[in-house]
């Protein structure tokens, strides 16, 4: 069979290609064009994602998955969740991962294991046990009190190498993303960032990892066919927290290591909490955000008042941050933070694409803006055309009444 060979890894069979252009439309990277009524792939642009292979109805495109002979992966068992703690408090994302991990472990018929590193972890085993863990791997040492890249990486690598989990989940947090990327490289594992959906292909025992790309404009499902563990970081607030069941009893495995394992090349000198807000953006169930439409920095006071009433975090658009109305740590969007709360209230925010990228997966979106043509209304569940400075205080009053505050 004659084929148009553009690289070793992807090929178009010219006798099968009908020139229908389905692949051109399917390519998220704009890498396919038509020449003489046949598809041609621009290899400088193609990322070998395989979207065209799926789109082609004629079997004319072949993606070689040359990952070599299938390895024996049977020694890898169990679903692990890295449970993040800060100042001895297990973070809510860990409970979300335990909730999701339980479902995955059930589908695979394996155990759900929690991994926790820290200094002074009394009572944590009971807490994780009550959240459904079957087994807990714990390393309790003063050097692990606060997160440090080196010892955390070293210990997690050792645990993975000794116990061979088939799946390792971790929060897509500052700590999680820094730690797990290094662990994946050192253990030669596959890692998928920022997943919003996880499932199991029960026949192949594969973790199906779905994540947004291009700011949520496309979704990709990713697998790790031939490497273990299958590692994934998961966004805040997309999985449901494991319910508390005090009767569950997990097996506790406390590990100790020689002193040098705890060495760190970096040194943590200080931990500074910017305590302007009580609720942090990533973990908030409700976010109230302000933009330039508020008119001035002093007007963020009404946003903060509504946020306080709703026990919500305060967000901001890039233009409000760039005008120095509010610190960068509040910025939601492409160059700021990505949030997906139950409720997002956008006040005086027009909804530029770089903002929408950071919040469009929120469950309910409320938009309050003077301009009826503002793009934010196109994605808002409820929209109000009007002045945020009038409507927000009235809304605060109503919520105070409802919540009896």
């Amino acid at each position: 069979m004659w084929r148009y060979n553009m690289a070793d890894s992807i090929a178009i069979f010219l006798d099968k290609c009908t020139g229908c252009t389905l692949c051109v439309k399917a390519c998220p990277f704009g890498a396919i064009r038509m020449a003489n009524k046949k598809a041609v792939i621009d290899m400088a642009v193609c990322t070998l994602c395989g979207a065209c292979v799926e789109a082609c109805k004629f079997g004319a495109i072949e993606l070689k998955s040359s990952s070599g002979p299938k390895k024996d992966l049977s020694k890898y068992r169990d679903v692990w969740v890295f449970c993040e703690q800060k100042k001895g408090v297990v973070q809510s994302i860990s409970f979300e991962l335990l909730g999701e991990g339980k479902k995955l472990a059930a589908k695979l018929g394996v155990k759900l294991c929690a991994v926790i590193l820290g200094g002074g972890l009394e009572g944590k085993a009971e807490e994780l046990s009550a959240r459904g863990a079957d087994k807990i791997y714990m390393v309790d040492h003063p050097a692990l009190k606060s997160y440090q890249d080196d010892p955390y990486t070293e210990i997690l690598v050792r645990l993975v190498e000794e116990y061979s989990p088939e799946i390792l989940l971790c929060g897509a947090t500052t700590i999680g993303r820094s730690l797990i990327s290094r662990v994946a490289v050192k253990t030669n594992a596959g890692l998928t960032a920022d997943c919003t959906g996880l499932d199991i292909d029960e026949k192949e025992r594969l973790l199906l990892q779905t994540r947004p790309a291009f700011g949520g404009n496309i979704m990709a499902t990713i697998i790790t066919p031939n490497h273990r563990p299958q590692m994934a970081t998961v966004r805040h607030k997309v999985m449901k927290e494991a319910a508390v069941d005090g009767s569950n009893r997990a097996e506790l495995i406390k590990k100790t290591y020689p002193g040098e394992v705890f060495n760190s090349r970096t040194r943590l000198l200080d931990v500074v909490e910017e305590i302007e807000d009580t609720v942090n953006l990533a973990e908030a169930d409700i976010v109230v955000s302000g933009g330039r439409g508020l008119g001035g920095p002093e007007n963020f006071a009404v946003i903060k008042e509504l946020a306080k009433t709703l026990n919500a975090a305060v967000g901001a658009s890039r233009s409000a941050v760039d005008s120095d109305w509010i610190p960068y740590s509040h910025q939601v969007g492409q160059t700021g933070k990505t949030v997906c709360p139950k409720l997002y209230i956008a006040c005086g925010i027009s909804g530029q694409i770089q903002h929408l990228i950071g919040m469009q997966s929120s469950d309910i979106i409320v938009a309050i803006n003077k301009d009826p043509d503002a793009p934010i209304f196109k994605i808002a569940t409820y929209g109000i055309v009007g002045d945020a400075m009038e409507i927000v205080p009235a809304l605060t009053k109503e919520f105070k009444r409802i919540l009896k505050k």
Binding site: T173, T221, I222, D285, I384, G386
Partner: protein, 263 residues
């Protein structure tokens, strides 16, 4: 001081539009730019050089046209540029990408700091920076919003966290990933633009960086994309109207359940 900045050329996300008929990305006419976070890494590198002396090498892996991103970096004050480009790199995931870049860093030679943006705006993984530091076995600090002190031996930096920031001291050489707050990037100078125009950055292949072929591209990537789809676009809902007091009452009533549950 020798600073290496790793950058990525990405499609300008603000240009990306969805075709409402086919529900796919429209890529025609979408401009390629330096990943926004990498612009802060370039600026920080140039500022360090201006303060401490030395030079800045900018490094990217990508198709031949990624040379344009390198030229832009040169116009912003970087001294040298290297493009790592080979068909063998096609299909690289973050494991293979960080391996390839780490091999290129080894070929570049001695350095004091590697700077990266915290993540790229197309993939959003934030995995390549830490991956490079793991391959090179050097210390890292991620999400850096300020370099407070720096000498030939060590640096003290502020790392952004969910609650505030940490102050971290790291020996050099090290890798830092930076966030937007660290600086405001400058515009290219005329002199820089002229120099960039004349520059012809070297192109290194897989062989040039002595990379293990089994660790490159699709072959060297543990992960595989099996499906790509466009989520149904979010639809606009109701526009409420009325006077302010009624509107507030109506909206609060609609949001009552979520407010009571989470408020």
């Amino acid at each position: 001081m020798h600073i290496i900045v790793c950058i990525k050329q990405v499609p300008n996300t603000t240009d990306v539009k969805i075709d409402p008929a086919t529900n796919t990305l429209i890529r025609d006419g979408v401009e390629s730019v330096i990943n926004p976070f990498d612009a802060y890494a370039i600026e920080e590198a140039v500022r360090l050089k201006e303060r401490l002396g030395g030079k800045v090498t900018v490094l990217t892996m990508g198709p031949p046209q990624a040379e344009n991103a390198l030229k832009e970096a040169l116009s912003l004050g970087c001294d040298d540029a290297v493009l790592v480009s080979d068909r063998k790199f096609a299909g690289s995931d973050t494991w293979a990408t960080s391996y390839t870049l780490s091999m290129a860093v080894k070929k570049i030679g001695a350095f004091d700091i590697i700077l990266c943006g915290k993540q790229a705006s197309d993939g959003d993984t934030a995995q390549v920076g830490p991956g490079i530091s793991a391959h090179l076995n050097i210390p890292q600090v991620t999400y850096v919003k300020e370099i407070k002190e720096i000498s030939a031996e060590k640096a003290t930096v502020a790392r952004m966290t969910e609650e505030g920031h940490d102050i971290v001291e790291t020996p050099l050489p090290c890798l830092l990933t930076v966030v937007k707050e660290i600086n405001t990037p400058r515009l290219p100078s005329l002199k820089g633009k002229m120099r960039a125009k004349a520059a012809k950055p070297p192109v290194w292949t897989a062989e040039d960086i002595a990379a293990d072929p089994a660790a490159l591209g699709l072959e060297g990537s543990p992960t595989r994309v099996v499906k790509i789809f466009t989520p149904a676009p979010r639809k606009g809902g109701e526009i409420l109207s009325g006077d302010t007091a009624d509107l507030a009452k109506e909206l609060a009533e609609l949001l009552k359940d979520v407010a009571i549950q989470h408020g």
